[in-house]
């Protein structure tokens, strides 16, 4: 399947944010969803929250796409990243672990990530979300440019 054209892709994610709001005043947000997994691990007795199930669903959605398009295969390769930082798990693993830690700690503290603040919060015209989005967009651009300069090449 060809890459989803961007106008359609924008409409779909907007539809998801609107649908969650319309369903039960729920906010779209992958960080809150991942937080649902953390809470489930800490207190399994209460069962999974809607957030934990959203995160599980996101994983299953990736699986469904891979299955439908015949791309499903287990691989440790991470194209692009490997070319820049090396494909060896001994270096890739700790780097991704640390990056993931920054993502989780930072986004949780900020109260959301690209979906929660960027799409849902900005779409709701929540000013804190606009500030958060501006901050992570600018920071990510700067870091990506620096990595590009240090690493050289494409």
């Amino acid at each position: 399947m060809d890459r989803c054209p961007w106008p359609l892709a924008g409409l779909i994610v907007g539809g998801i944010a609107i649908g969650l709001q319309w369903a039960d005043n729920l906010p779209l947000g992958a960080t809150g969803a991942a937080g649902g997994i953390v809470e489930l691990v800490r207190r399994p007795g209460r069962g999974p929250s809607w957030r934990a199930l959203f995160f599980l669903g996101t994983l299953l959605g990736g699986l469904l796409y891979a299955a439908v398009t015949g791309r499903l295969s287990l691989t440790w390769a991470y194209p692009g990243f490997d070319a820049r930082f090396g494909a060896a798990l001994a270096t890739k693993g700790p780097l991704l672990l640390a990056a993931g830690g920054l993502i989780g700690f930072g986004a949780r503290w900020a109260g959301g990530c690209t979906s929660g603040h960027g799409i849902c919060g900005v779409g709701r015209l929540q000013w804190g979300s606009l500030l958060a989005t501006a901050t992570f967009v600018v920071t990510a651009i700067v870091v990506a440019q620096l990595v590009g300069m240090i690493g050289g090449g494409s």
């Binding site: 992958a30 989780g104 930072g106 109260g111 959301g112 000013w127 870091v143």
Partner: protein, 153 residues
């Protein structure tokens, strides 16, 4: 249909969408951040505009939620220091990993096993933030109807 089903169904749609739009691809994310492609920015702008317009129309027409027939509501979020500090840390990690929380989950679904490391870091980072009392709801102020209900349940 319960709230849990809503979460699962929309989650599957979200994950499928992430993979279809190639947001699970390091090169797509970092290429956008280096302005080698504008796909991501155009998608993002369209998504925000769709959400803003859709919510505005629904609010204006007095739509009510499917599950509880409650009015659509979301509280204001006032800008705070955490929005800057937390988001800056997130931006650094996101640019290095070429992913954010949604794509991490979808990457694993696609069979990209290196995302297991990113996921472990993500969950640990969230757990540390929660333990340190850094957990902040998206919403500051009165929780909306759905949030309050969840807090009780």
């Amino acid at each position: 249909m319960s709230r849990r089903w809503v979460g699962l169904v929309f989650g599957v749609a979200f994950g499928f969408w992430l993979a279809w739009a190639r947001l699970t691809d390091y090169r797509a994310i970092v290429g956008a951040l280096r302005f080698q492609s504008f796909y991501l920015w155009l998608l993002f702008a369209t998504g925000v505009a769709t959400t803003a317009l859709g919510l505005r129309i629904l609010s204006r027409t007095g739509a009510r939620t499917w599950l509880t027939r409650a009015p659509l509501a979301w509280p204001p979020v006032s800008p705070q220091r955490r929005h800057v500090v937390g988001s800056a840390l997130f931006g650094v990690g996101g640019a290095l990993a070429g992913a954010c929380p949604g794509p991490i989950a979808a990457q694993i679904g696609e069979g990209r096993l290196s995302a297991l490391f990113t996921l472990a870091g993500l969950l640990a980072g969230i757990a540390v933030a929660d333990t340190l009392g850094k957990r902040q709801p998206l919403f500051v102020g009165a929780p909306c109807a759905g949030e309050a209900q969840e807090a009780r349940g």
